[in-house]
């Protein structure tokens, strides 16, 4: 028994030394960094910005329509361009695609009355039209990520003519599938009260996501980090992801209340009872080709929630890609990086070819002129 304090001191010293080292690195690497690829702002409305990513040098442009990425309102979109070897955006650029990204900005109390209608029929539609005009085309490819995928589904249903192909990534569709803890927790919340309180704090939202697995996400991942001190690349990536996790903008009161009520509590999307701006959102109206990408180990959007899209849309061209990773792993894991961007660009290229073939079939002269 008398030996114990000595052993503990040794252990504690080692732990403290490592903890201080990691803490310092976290501080050093805290510089604001929102992605690694070059981009330009091409359209702004209120706090939202549309970015166009500059093509990579020596890459031949693809024939596919321009790609618009619609990220969630929750968290910031730079997770899709975290660092050169973990960037969906960079991989799409490398495939020669024209890539645009919506940055929803950081809503403040003046934005508390923004509704889902404002986001879908206002900002998103505005961005789509801007890109269509800029490129002189009638359609674009839409990639919706997480909650952004749900918004994209609504948009594609209401404005199907503007969307050539739709890709949904880790997107909740059926919000009440078995094992959806987030949904279970949302069921009894009084969203009218929450809305009256004002914008939902981003910090509290981060804490909510972490509290789904409080011991693993609030504890273990940090302690595991102590073993990665001799792997600077892994540590650096961890720090980038960690800074992103805590970079959670406040959410506009009305849009959040609507999202929780209409989607989580009333599951209107799959029950076909959802209306945006007085127009019914019907998944059967989603007739363009759809690629649905989901993570098999996702605890925020369980795979069953995404897979519910199958058979519910009007499209006859529907494919799925299941990736063996988690929600955040879908953006940053090596496994997802190896599979997802390649699949997306191949899938889009195939559909671009079939677009051209169908043009040739319908009117060879017109098609030849267009080419």
């Amino acid at each position: 028994v008398s030996k114990r304090p000595v052993e503990f001191d040794g252990l504690w010293l080692e732990l403290s030394r490592r903890a201080v080292e990691v803490g310092e690195k976290l501080r050093r690497d805290s510089a604001d960094q929102e992605g690694c690829s070059l981009r330009e702002a091409v359209w702004r409305q209120d706090k939202t910005v549309l970015y166009r990513y500059l093509p990579l040098p020596f890459i031949r442009g693809s024939r596919a329509h321009p790609v618009l990425i619609c990220y969630a309102l929750v968290n910031r979109p730079y997770i899709l361009d975290l660092q050169p070897d973990r960037s969906l955006i960079r991989a799409l650029l490398a495939a020669g695609l024209e890539v645009y990204l919506i940055d929803w900005g950081r809503p403040d109390s003046g934005d508390r009355m923004l509704s889902l209608d404002d986001y879908i029929s206002g900002y998103l539609d505005g961005f789509v039209r801007h890109i269509l005009e800029r490129h002189g085309v009638e359609k674009l490819n839409l990639i919706g990520v997480c909650q952004g995928g749900t918004l994209s589904l609504c948009y594609a249903s209401l404005h199907s003519k503007q969307v050539a192909n739709l890709i949904t990534m880790v997107t909740p569709v059926d919000f009440q599938t078995e094992g959806n803890l987030l949904s279970k927790w949302a069921q009894h919340l009084d969203m009218d009260l929450m809305q009256r309180l004002g914008n939902i704090s981003g910090t509290q939202l981060t804490a909510l996501f972490l509290s789904l697995r409080p011991f693993r996400l609030g504890q273990q991942k940090y302690v595991n980090l102590l073993d990665q001190l001799n792997d600077p690349a892994a540590l650096e990536m961890f720090l980038r992801v960690e800074n992103w996790v805590f970079d959670s903008p406040d959410q506009p009161a009305q849009a959040t209340a609507e999202f929780v009520k209409w989607f989580y509590q009333e599951n209107r999307l799959v029950r076909a009872t959802l209306s945006i701006a007085g127009r019914r959102v019907d998944l059967k109206a989603v007739r363009m080709p759809v690629l649905n990408v989901f993570a098999t180990g996702d605890h925020i959007v369980p795979p069953a929630s995404s897979m519910a899209l199958r058979g519910r849309i009007g499209s006859v061209d529907y494919s799925e890609l299941a990736v063996d990773t988690g929600h955040i792993g879908m953006y940053v894991s090596l496994r997802a990086q190896a599979i997802v961007p390649a699949k997306i660009s191949r899938w889009l290229a195939e559909r671009a070819c079939s677009d051209i073939k169908s043009l040739l079939t319908i009117s060879p002269c017109c098609a030849a002129t267009n080419l």
Partner: protein, 232 residues
């Protein structure tokens, strides 16, 4: 707090908790079978859960000293600045909601306590004998086992309907209490001739109506321009 600071703070508190846990493990290793060992672990896990929940749900502001856990009397001392009956009614509602809030918190604490107890029991059943000496390697192995047990117990509790209802009750009560407190303070502000949050929100609402009308006009004029361009 910026993101890096938040990440650093989360890291630091996780490491502190890990250190605390190691301390418990080391001091208890010699008396593993004793009730102290289990009690310390349970207390640690309970604390982690409490911290995780309050980071998520927040805590209402109690601007006056409140003896935790005591029943609240509607006639307790909350003196409205304004003497009108609205302020007195609001003060009473705050008292009632505060009592409800403490009850809901106590109910939830009961769940956390049971969960922590269950995780500790799982851990003790699986751990076997603690190693005589703890180095960083076997400490993290033990820690990983504890985390697995805790997550398993948490998943069981988190999915239970009664827990879900208790959790929502506390969150809803926190929101209602905050709103009532706000409305009380607004009455005071109005009585003193000061602008209130509601006044600002009313202005914001007017502004957003105007903004929507402006955007609709702009869209219409863009469409008209395009149409006239085509017809030319």
């Amino acid at each position: 707090m910026d993101n890096a600071t938040s990440a650093e703070a989360a890291f630091k508190s996780a490491i502190d908790r890990f250190g605390q846990l190691l301390r418990s493990l080391t001091s208890c290793a010699v008396s593993q079978g004793s009730p102290t060992f289990g009690a310390q672990l349970t207390a640690e896990l309970e604390r982690w859960l409490r911290e995780s929940f309050s980071a998520m749900a927040g805590t209402p502001v109690f601007p006056w000293p409140w003896p935790t856990g005591t029943p609240v009397s509607p006639s307790a001392s909350l003196h409205p600045v304004s003497s009108n009956s609205g302020a007195a009614g609001s003060a009473q509602r705050i008292m009632k909601l505060t009592e409800q809030w403490f009850q809901a918190q106590a109910q939830l604490a009961g769940f956390w306590s049971n969960m922590a107890q269950s995780a500790t029991e799982k851990f003790i059943a699986q751990v076997g004998l603690l190693p005589p000496e703890l180095d960083l390697h076997n400490a993290t192995t033990l820690y990983d086992l504890l985390i697995s047990c805790a997550e398993e117990a948490h998943a069981q509790m988190a999915n239970c309907e009664k827990y879900v209802a208790a959790r929502a009750l506390l969150i809803n009560t926190t929101a209602e209490l905050t709103l009532e407190q706000r409305s009380y303070m607004e009455m005071c502000a109005r009585a003193l001739g000061l602008p209130s949050r509601s006044d600002i929100e009313a202005i914001q609402a007017d502004l957003s109506v105007l903004k929507r009308a402006l955007q609709a006009n702009q869209t219409r004029s863009r469409r008209n321009k395009r149409k006239s361009g085509r017809s030319r």
